[in-house]
């Protein structure tokens, strides 16, 4: 019991129990207590969502969309580590998603092994590829990295499309009927939803811990100005490389989770450029380089995507991507900080009305 109380205490105040606790101090703490209401509503909502819609007529559909949403949030969070925090815009993250998606179905096809065996293998492959791209391109600044990621993604997609072992253009199929729970084949989307949610929580926790660490400050220093960071002794190349590898590993986990649920992967669904596009647009829409930005982005984009797919049908899917392109351009032109930045500005505006003398909390964003 004391341990639980101490745990709650750390959660609320961000520090451990200290000596000198008295009822008077407790009262002071309670007055000082700042509940992270945003996080509680977000996680609570995500936690009860499948149960809340279970009674509705379209429960299966909504739960499926929910699982898609959480999965999209995982991969966008993973992209955010290198694209947002480090400011190195990868447009080829489909490589890592594809590595994660292909290996589970590959180990099933080749050795009849349970797909989950492919998850760690996918991580290894993804990290290896990230190093192959990162080591040469991080010697240089700026656009080289983006160009290299898109070129390698296209190279790998072409190779996989012509590789018979990997199903070539047709793709690979996972287990159709479960041989046991370890095959992770469920009829309902709910088990997947909760597995995804657990991984999302882990991803967000990793990002949170990273952002508070020395490593996280290095990343933001690099984003703000690579030369300045270097002159202050930040090991620029190594930091960028570690961020890229971490991001690749988490993206590959998202790919494996996708393969468990869908049980099928082909070059388009695993390695297509639109896989990368979705991660970028979700993270940038919500707010690249913020903890909850990718989740906010997924909450906006995935329901929108399901709605447009329902309205336009299959023939209009091209229109969906026209809209995507438009959104990406508008974000770039008007609000590179995404929804989170807009929210911060709104709050600052509100605060200014109350206390007009309050100085701006933050300086202008560095280029």
């Amino acid at each position: 019991m004391p341990a639980l109380v101490a745990g709650i205490h750390v959660f609320l105040f961000g520090k451990t129990w200290t000596a000198g606790t008295s009822p008077a101090m407790m009262g002071k703490w309670i007055r000082k207590m700042r509940w992270p209401w945003g996080s509680i509503v977000l996680w609570g909502g995500l936690l009860i969502f499948p149960l809340a819609v279970a009674g509705s007529d379209s429960a299966d559909f909504l739960q499926d969309v929910g699982a898609t949403l959480v999965l999209a949030a995982i991969s966008a969070c993973a992209w955010n580590i290198v694209g947002g925090y480090a400011g190195q815009v990868s447009v080829g993250h489909a490589i890592f998603f594809g590595a994660g998606a292909y290996l589970p179905v590959l180990v099933y096809t080749v050795w009849q092994a349970p797909p989950i065996v492919g998850l760690p293998l996918g991580i290894i492959v993804a990290v290896a590829i990230s190093l192959v791209i990162g080591i040469p391109t991080f010697r240089l600044q700026g656009h080289y990295f983006s160009m290299a990621t898109i070129a390698v993604a296209e190279l790998i997609r072409l190779v996989v499309s012509n590789w018979d072992l990997l199903g070539a253009a047709i793709g690979l199929q996972g287990p159709a009927t479960p041989r046991g729970w370890w095959d992770l084949v469920f009829r309902s989307a709910v088990p997947y939803y909760y597995i995804y949610l657990a991984v999302l929580a882990l991803t967000v926790w990793i990002t949170w811990a990273m952002a508070r660490s020395r490593f996280g400050y290095y990343l933001r220093a690099i984003r703000a100005g690579e030369r300045a960071a270097k002159s202050l002794g930040v090991p620029v190349r190594r930091t960028k490389l570690s961020a890229f590898a971490l991001s690749a590993a988490l993206t590959s986990v998202a790919g494996s989770l996708y393969a468990f649920k869908v049980g099928f992967v082909n070059p388009e669904s695993g390695l297509g450029i639109l896989v990368s596009v979705q991660m970028i647009i979700i993270a940038a829409l919500g707010g690249a380089g913020t903890l909850y930005g990718p989740i906010i982005g997924a909450l906006i984009l995935i329901p929108l995507q399901s709605a447009t797919n329902t309205w336009f049908g299959g023939s209009g899917s091209g229109l969906t991507f026209v809209v995507y392109g438009g959104i990406i351009m508008l974000i770039a032109r008007f609000e590179p900080g995404g929804v989170m930045e807009m929210w911060t500005q709104l709050r600052r505006l509100g605060r200014k009305r109350v206390k007009s003398s309050a100085p701006a909390a933050e300086g202008p964003r560095a280029a």
Binding site: V132, H143, A151, R223, I273, V277
Partner: protein
């Protein structure tokens, strides 16, 4: 002999690569900006040619029409989008043209459908016999015109007053402004020229090769390979590298197999990044 045949058609296609890549390298050299929508500009040039054929115009109208339409598009893109994101964070620089590429590509899918198209037969569809090597007139025309225009671009930049003004802006924007040059106008012009070079390259290729809305992605990656091989910002480098890439692609297609044409080129890009990231003729 077949090898020689493949080499010649590779070099002719390489000249077209040189043309649109010199447009990409111009933008990079002037403002340190990579245009991810450059391949879509090439694709639009092809569809401009297609639309022109509906109006009963001959092949001599394709190239000027594509040049005019794409020049206007390039200038509009600069004024409406690039000017605002140019000095912003890296994220918006990359996302702006990346979003534009998606928009143009899928708009083309929506309007023209995903089928491969070819332009109707014209006086250019016959082949020539150059001492045992057969070249279609369309391919020959596309290659020669593209090569001349790419060299013309270099001459424009290095030998004319306008080119000097553009290079002055590239070197130091504010100093150029003090000399009475309007940087925005010069950069809009550069974007127009760059897009026009892509559009002309597209219109030239449309005569000789079938095309669909998805070709843009291949071309933007080809341009990246050419530009990184030739050195960022170097037009002569882009010309040499364009010819090299066309040649390597044709020989790989002939010697290894047609599906490996693009694989070899992209692998070359990764190789260049590893060995000499500043390009063969480039300096960083």
């Amino acid at each position: 002999m077949i090898l020689l045949q493949a080499a010649v058609s590779g070099l002719l296609l390489g000249a077209v690569y040189a043309l649109f890549s010199s447009g990409l390298t111009l933008i990079w050299g002037m403002m340190n900006f990579i245009n991810f929508a450059h391949g879509e500009f090439v694709m639009l040039g092809m569809y401009v040619a297609l639309v022109i054929t509906w109006g009963q115009f001959g092949p001599e109208a394709y190239t000027p029409a594509a040049a005019i339409v794409l020049f206007a598009l390039g200038a509009i893109v600069y004024a409406g989008l690039i000017r605002h994101v140019m000095r912003g964070p890296m994220l918006s620089q990359i996302l702006s043209t990346f979003g534009l590429a998606l928009l143009l590509r899928y708009a083309a899918f929506y309007v023209f459908k995903s089928d491969f198209r070819t332009l109707p037969d014209t006086s250019l569809s016959s082949t020539l016999d150059l001492g045992g090597i057969y070249v279609s007139k369309a391919q020959l025309l596309a290659g020669v015109v593209a090569g001349l225009l790419a060299i013309g671009m270099h001459v424009l930049l290095t030998r004319t007053a306008l080119g000097s003004r553009m290079l002055a802006v590239a070197e130091d924007r504010s100093a150029a402004m003090l000399m009475g040059i309007r940087p925005d106008r010069m950069q809009a012009l550069a974007w127009g020229l760059s897009a026009a070079s892509a559009g002309i390259a597209g219109a030239l290729m449309a005569i000789a090769y079938p095309f669909s809305p998805s070709v843009g992605e291949t071309f933007v990656l080809t341009a990246f390979v050419v530009v990184s091989l030739g050195g960022f910002g170097s037009v002569p480098g882009a010309v040499i590298a364009g010819l090299t890439v066309g040649l390597v692609q044709a020989l790989a297609g002939y010697l290894i197999g047609p599906i490996y044409k693009d694989v070899v080129v992209y692998a070359m890009f990764v190789g260049v990044l590893w060995i000499r990231p500043q390009g063969l003729l480039g300096t960083v």
